[in-house]
């Protein structure tokens, strides 16, 4: 992809601290209006990469180009297009949410009071905005962090582990406004996480990083016929069902305790159920328990490494 077409282009990015090579030759592009998941186990180098993207740390070699401006050579122009939370949503604890937003709003020209109120509404903090941030829960600080990052209407939003410490409802809500930003305002969003499951549903694409290297990029919309899922079947009688699966359908049963676990293409699930029913098998439940994407992810990074 051309540097000029992407919202953010990462080219040959390296970071060495002391003798330790923390980031090794990262290359990827964030397209306008896409949500890009930056996935990797703890210590993979996600935060380090994000720090280089926003100029907090020096780039050993390579470059980050944001909307055509190099963060190294044209810092002010490049950073004007970016809003970010790096590592934790840290704000001044002794000031209210509103005072914090006003503080950061003053750092960029042309942010109106109306805009401040708009971002407060977007993240749903209207009722807590006059409360001191020291009293906020982690979820509230995440929201305030996002509000702060959006003040100047950036074209690239970078959120480092935004789902950390959130309950499922909180994650759903973040997903809702990240999708809204991408779809309605054409904002490119980079979300990092060490848990694929927490951000999979909000991403258009994911890049997997491990030991400072990008080891895979997947487009989540390209769910082709070959996309396999692991499906759990609650059927009776079981042995007959296994027989049918093995012989008639050529499907291997991976596990069979209470329920049967099989690997199958998502699109083939309805047909399989019909076959089973026609052969007088009673079907009590069919559950997709794991997408193979997650399976592949775990395989790639090594299950035990995930913190």
């Amino acid at each position: 992809m051309l540097v000029s077409d992407s919202a953010m282009a990462i080219r040959g990015l390296h970071k060495t601290i002391g003798r330790k090579k923390i980031i090794k030759d990262l290359n990827f592009d964030i397209r306008p209006g896409e949500v890009y998941g930056f996935i990797g186990p703890n210590g993979a180098g996600k935060t380090t990469t994000i720090r280089m993207m926003v100029g907090l740390i020096g780039i050993t070699s390579g470059d980050v180009v944001i909307k055509g401006n190099s963060i190294k050579k044209n810092y002010k122009k490049a950073i004007s297009e970016v809003g970010a939370i790096v590592e934790n949503p840290e704000m001044y604890p002794f000031m209210t949410g509103k005072q914090n937003l006003k503080h950061f709003a003053r750092m960029t020209r042309g942010i109106t009071d109306a805009r401040i109120d708009e971002v407060i509404r977007l993240v749903g903090l209207e009722n807590a905005i006059q409360t001191k941030v020291g009293k906020y829960s982690l979820g509230m600080r995440q929201r305030l962090g996002i509000a702060q990052a959006l003040l100047h209407s950036p074209s690239v939003l970078i959120l480092d582990e935004p789902t950390n410490g959130l309950d499922p409802a909180g994650i759903r809500e973040i997903r809702r406004y990240i999708r809204k930003l991408a779809v309605e305002d054409n904002v490119s969003v980079i979300v990092s996480s060490h848990l694929l499951s927490e951000i999979e549903l909000m991403c258009d694409r994911i890049g997997v990083i491990k030991n400072g290297e990008l080891i895979a990029v997947r487009d989540l919309h390209e769910k082709t016929d070959s996309e396999q899922s692991i499906v759990s079947l609650d059927v009776h009688p079981r042995d007959e069902a296994i027989e049918i699966l093995n012989t008639a359908q050529h499907i291997k049963v991976l596990e069979s305790d209470d329920q049967l676990k099989i690997q199958i293409n998502r699109n083939d699930v309805p047909g399989l159920v019909t076959t089973l029913v026609q052969k007088d098998i009673q079907v009590y439940g069919v559950t997709v328990i794991q997408s193979t994407l997650e399976d592949q992810f775990l395989e790639m990074i090594g299950e035990n490494v995930i913190g």
Binding site: I79, E87, F104, R106
Partner: protein, 320 residues
């Protein structure tokens, strides 16, 4: 640079939103009141004596009384002699130079309270030590730096805010002393001529320029310490270290410089130069070849080194 005003406003906002800052101002008021109470309890100022338009006769009579006191006390109490001679000399100077006395008034109280600026030093050191280091401690440094503003400008805004805080605090202290002084001792006229001690003896100066000069020298002193603390805060990201080192220098700096006075190089020690008031009092500098111009130059060199060091490290550092 256009929005440097907004940045300075942000920095001042963060200083003044803290309750601890307001506690500092309460302490300053308390110290001024304490100074008044001590004056009263120890009877160290003569706030009774007042003078009328016939002040020439009154001064002469006063001198008469004082001379008699010395004679009665005789050799037994040399203390009486030295105190009274001081007052007699001052009265004589006023008579000879036609300077009208007003008794002890708010202006004298403000000048006597010059020592209260030490508390301002302490507070400014605390603010200077935290102004950069705290952003690292709170983690907010990341949010502060990912803006379309150069790091140098961010640092400059913090330094300007620190200077303004110093100025506001000293002005507040001056105003408190003046108001308390006016209430308890009265303010006969706004800008009377007062007697001051200079290296070559007694002289007179108008009250307001004298106050501005004396407090100005103290402000310079505070600004030097603040700049040092600011540098340490920026380099080591530790407010405790910055505050500790600055306070250490504040307490021992001058003493060390004095102890080294016999060596020629001692005149290049920062704290041999930071108190310019010595050039306007009977103390004089630690070495006699030193001049006020020399001291100003030494201070300037140190300040430039402090600021450039802080700046170089701040703009280069990886913020993790």
């Amino acid at each position: 640079m256009g929005n440097i005003f907004s940045l300075v406003r942000n920095e001042l906002g963060k200083i003044y939103v803290m309750k601890s800052t307001w506690a500092m101002y309460v302490f300053l008021v308390a110290l001024v009141l304490f100074s008044f109470i001590m004056n009263t309890v120890t009877d160290s100022v003569d706030s009774e004596t007042t003078y009328t338009d016939d002040w020439r006769t009154e001064l002469q009579e006063e001198n008469q009384t004082l001379t008699e006191e010395i004679e009665t006390a005789g050799e037994d109490d040399p203390f009486v002699e030295s105190t009274n001679m001081g007052i007699i000399q001052q009265n004589t100077y006023m008579l000879e130079n036609d300077i009208r006395p007003y008794g002890y008034h708010a202006g004298n109280f403000v000048l006597d309270n010059l020592f209260t600026t030490s508390l301002v030093s302490l507070f400014v050191i605390i603010i200077a030590g935290g102004i950069v280091a705290n952003e690292f401690r709170w983690g907010t440094i990341k949010q502060l730096l990912i803006r379309p503003i150069s790091r140098g400008t961010i640092l400059l805004s913090k330094y300007i805010a620190l200077l303004l805080f110093t100025l506001f605090t000293v002005v507040f202290l001056l105003a408190t002393s003046a108001i308390v002084g006016a209430i308890v001792y009265g303010a006969p006229v706004v800008n009377p001529e007062i007697i001051v001690n200079r290296p070559d003896g007694m002289a007179s100066n108008a009250l307001l320029p004298e106050i501005f000069m004396q407090y100005g020298f103290r402000v310079l002193n505070i600004v030097v310490l603040a700049t040092f603390g600011f540098m340490i805060s920026s380099i080591f990201r530790s407010s405790a270290l910055a505050i500790g080192l600055s306070m250490f220098l504040m307490f021992i700096g001058t003493t060390v410089a004095q102890a080294m006075a016999r060596y020629e190089w001692a005149k290049y020690i920062l704290f041999a130069n930071t108190d310019l008031s010595v050039y306007f009092s009977s103390y004089g500098p630690i070495r006699e070849e030193m001049t006020i111009g020399f001291s100003v130059a030494v201070i300037a060199v140190y300040m430039v080194v402090f600021i450039i060091t802080a700046w170089t490290i701040f703009i280069k550092r990886d913020v993790a």
